[in-house]
């Protein structure tokens, strides 16, 4: 095993055998390539539906795996993250490079956008430096023909000394030929590359040769030539790996002094010199093999862009698309959601009728069916949202959306692509948090995940409606609008700005982003994309949410004090058999008693006790134990606050005029100031348990998950405190 120590998490995964043993999987093919080279569509073409997102603990970069049986060979296919290069500057590149170095896939298939050979072959050259002979898939071959680009494949293949297969990923052209070649290469072990490549200047070649001659350099299990180049490029991970080895510091000294010497002689930094040499090598090979027609017409992409990124029309078009996406996700999605809800309801009823009234029945109905039902109702939203996002990504629109919104988002330290999670959060935070996956850089993604829950989701609406209606009847509409759309968005931007200035200070990610040509997304690829998200959501969430809802169920039902029930039942019975009261009086009296009993029972349960114990925490905000308990029940889902307030504040449990009576009760228990403060707390604290778990799942870091919970509760507390106490100071009620 090579002592090279690359990314830490990956090394741990290797130890834990997250990757399959080679013996059980005869062939492994890794797909490498630039972003937007059609790698994913080729991956889909090879594996079809037999794929899943690999579980790489601690790494938020998605790595998809699939399998295919080809000519009786079982082949495991790994889709590495799209990268332009194989340095260790970004997580994607680290993951791709570590996989190739440590996993040693039998064949690396380097997917190339054949309409843009020069830049795509830059990665190929780096693979060659690494000692890997890739199989080149010249993808998007149909576009090459349409653009009348002539490529002499045979000659280019000879010049580079690598096999080339032309492919069209979107309609599966030449997939068999590609696999055939890959299997052949693996069997004949023709996947090593030992030639000196690139046209490095003489000074660089000398240093490389000098470094290679040091014996230690050949003990790392990777190509010594590659190590030497990386040392000249000043690659941090290779440096630290070499430093740890015996005699490593001597090697670093040689490399460092050679680098400064080269930079002095050639008047440019080593990184540029090496990059230019690579591009020089590519240009040399392409000069003899590629002929492009003189471009004399405006390309279709430019024509589309003349509207999509137009100075005036860009935003109307963007908001139209966003409106459509939002409507489709939440309005159209409400129909299947309703069906699922009635399905869950039907299941509930069936269990209710079939089982005797026991604790087990209650557990199944409230804990299990309630919990799982609570998740699957989000499925339509997630399916539709990711269907839309897949179309936007595959067509090339996503990059344009980021292009036009980046200025605004960048002001608060975010990326243009953070816009979509922010907007979708107004429907539901859960798909919004998941939509943060479209961000490539881990820092940007983390920031977006942390901020998305601040956007007011539709589940918070019933609380606003209740409070605004009860306390500000004249301005209810405006107040609800402010909370639903304005305050949440404001806190999103303000917190983003605070994060930028504090926690993520100096953590600026480069925006440099390709604007790929517009392409028609294929239905198949969009469907696969959508299904992967849904599957991921169901699999990852199911178990945890189940456990959480059972815990919540236990807490809100136990312990039971049978004395309360007995004593109240006694009182109720005595009212019922009383001869002095009219039947109307009886009904109202038993209603009051039943409601008192529920309240006493709730106070006795775990959630009631925790809520009451938390009262001192809430007291500075003007909240008493009832508010404390209701906020606690809001963890289940924000709209639950309304129903638990029914139990907490209503003296009579009957359904008659319930909404109106609840409003009156709220008006009695809350001053306008206190109610306003309460609404702010509801807006800002952790949205619900499913959203919380989504955040944890997507952050994939214990530290950041804890931070996410703590900062939201702290923020809610501080803001509410400031509003309540500040309001009192200036004499508000």
């Amino acid at each position: 095993m090579s002592p090279l120590s690359f990314s830490h998490t990956l090394r741990q995964n290797l130890k834990k055998d997250v990757f399959y043993e080679k013996s059980t999987r005869p062939f492994t093919i890794a797909l490498a390539g630039n972003p937007n080279c059609g790698k994913t569509s080729l991956f889909n073409a090879i594996t079809g539906a037999h794929q899943h997102v690999g579980n790489w603990g601690g790494v938020t970069v998605e790595v998809k795996e699939g399998s295919v049986t080809f000519n009786k060979n079982e082949i495991r296919v790994v889709d590495l993250p799209g990268t332009y290069s194989l340095t260790a500057f970004s997580l994607e590149e680290s993951v791709a490079r570590d996989f190739i170095i440590h996993e040693k896939p039998d064949v690396v298939v380097n997917v190339i956008d054949a309409t843009n050979l020069e830049r795509n072959l830059y990665l190929t050259v780096q693979l060659l430096e690494l000692g890997v002979r890739p199989l080149l898939a010249f993808n998007m071959w149909d576009e090459v023909r349409n653009k009348q680009i002539e490529i002499n494949i045979k000659l280019l293949s000879e010049l580079l000394d690598v096999p080339i297969v032309t492919t069209i990923g979107k309609n599966c052209t030449n997939i068999n030929k590609l696999l055939d070649t890959a299997v052949l290469m693996a069997k004949e072990e023709r996947c090593k590359y030992n030639r000196q490549i690139s046209e490095f200047p003489a000074e660089v070649v000398q240093v490389i040769e000098k470094l290679i001659s040091v014996p230690v350099m050949n003990s790392f299990g990777v190509s010594a030539q590659w190590l030497a180049i990386k040392l000249l490029e000043n690659d941090s991970e290779v440096r630290s790996a070499v430093k740890e080895a015996e005699g490593g510091s001597g090697i670093l000294e040689i490399a460092d002094s050679a680098r400064s010497k080269i930079e002095l002689i050639l008047g440019e930094d080593a990184q540029s010199i090496i990059a230019e040499a690579r591009y020089g090598f590519i240009a040399g090979a392409l000069r003899e093999t590629v002929r492009k027609p003189v471009r004399n017409r405006v390309e279709i992409s430019d024509q589309i862009d003349s509207i999509i990124t137009h100075p005036v029309w860009a935003f109307p078009v963007f908001f139209l698309f966003m409106w459509l996406l939002f409507q489709a996700t939440f309005v159209l999605g409400a129909y299947p959601q309703g069906l699922l809800e009635s399905g869950v309801e039907f299941l509930r009823e069936s269990v209710l009728n079939l089982m005797p009234d026991t604790v087990l029945r209650s557990l199944i109905i409230d804990g299990i069916i309630g919990g799982v039902g609570g998740i699957i109702v989000f499925l339509p939203n997630i399916l539709i949202l990711f269907f839309g996002i897949a179309i936007m990504e595959d067509s090339g629109y996503m990059a344009r959306a980021a292009f036009i919104t980046d200025k605004v988002m960048h002001k608060v330290g975010l990326h243009g692509k953070s816009f979509i999670p922010m907007l979708m959060g107004m429907g539901c935070n859960i798909p919004a948090i998941m939509a943060a996956r479209t961000l490539e850089s881990e820092t940007d993604r983390r920031k977006t995940i942390l901020l998305a829950p601040l956007i007011s989701c539709s589940a918070r609406l019933p609380v606003y409606v209740l409070f605004a209606g009860a306390l500000f009847p004249k301005h209810a509409g405006n107040i609800v609008f402010l909370f639903q759309f304005v305050f949440g968005t404001l806190s999103f931007f303000i917190m983003a700005y605070i994060f930028k200035k504090t926690l993520f200070k100096g953590d600026e990610q480069p925006f440099v982003m390709e604007l790929p040509p517009y392409r028609l997304p294929t239905f198949r690829s969009v469907l696969i994309h959508m299904w992967q998200r849904a599957e991921h959501f169901l699999k990852k969430m199911g178990g945890v949410v189940l456990v959480f809802s059972i815990i919540l169920w236990v807490l809100s039902n136990y312990p039971v004090n049978s004395e309360i029930e007995e004593s109240y039942n006694g009182k109720i019975d005595s009212v019922r058999i009383s001869t002095e009261l009219s039947s109307e009086q009886k009904e109202s009296k038993t209603g009051v008693l039943e409601s008192e009993m529920r309240l006493e029972q709730l106070k006795y349960t775990g959630i009631g006790r925790i809520g009451m114990a938390l009262e001192p925490f809430f007291r500075p905000l003007g909240f008493k134990w009832r508010e404390s308990v209701s906020l606690l029940t809001g963890f289940v889902a924000k709209e639950v606050i309304v129903s638990s307030m029914g139990v907490l504040y209503l003296a009579d449990d009957s359904e008659l005029d319930r909404d109106q009576r609840l409003k009156t009760a709220i008006a009695n228990h809350f001053t306008p100031l206190k109610g306003f403060a309460f609404m702010f707390f509801v807006l800002l604290y952790t949205p619900c348990v499913v959203a919380l778990i989504t955040v944890i799942r997507e952050l994939k870091s214990v530290k950041w998950s804890i931070f996410s919970v703590v900062y939201q509760i702290a923020l809610a507390w501080v803001v509410t405190f400031a509003i309540y106490q500040g309001g009192r100071l200036i004499g508000l009620q």
């Binding site: 309409t115 020069e118 830049r119 990124t309 036009i404 980046d406």
Partner: protein, 81 residues
Amino acid sequence: MKKSAVMDLSSCMEGDLVKIVRIRGDSLIRKRLIEMGFLRGRVLKIVKYAPLKDPVEVEVGGSHVSLRVCEAAGIDVEPVY
């Protein structure tokens, strides 16, 4: 006054054709630019600025790339006539 022709990319106009003289800026952005083909001597076309005047879209070696204006400011260019 021929030497003063060198300017930074962020001061270019839409439709300008320029040649890269040097890339300054921090190593992460530099490296990303270099690997995407922003090399000394290459010709860049400033395609357009975003509606809010930031970022800017340029064409280099056949691909379209968008950069923030602050990133473009780190690229020294000279006009191509």
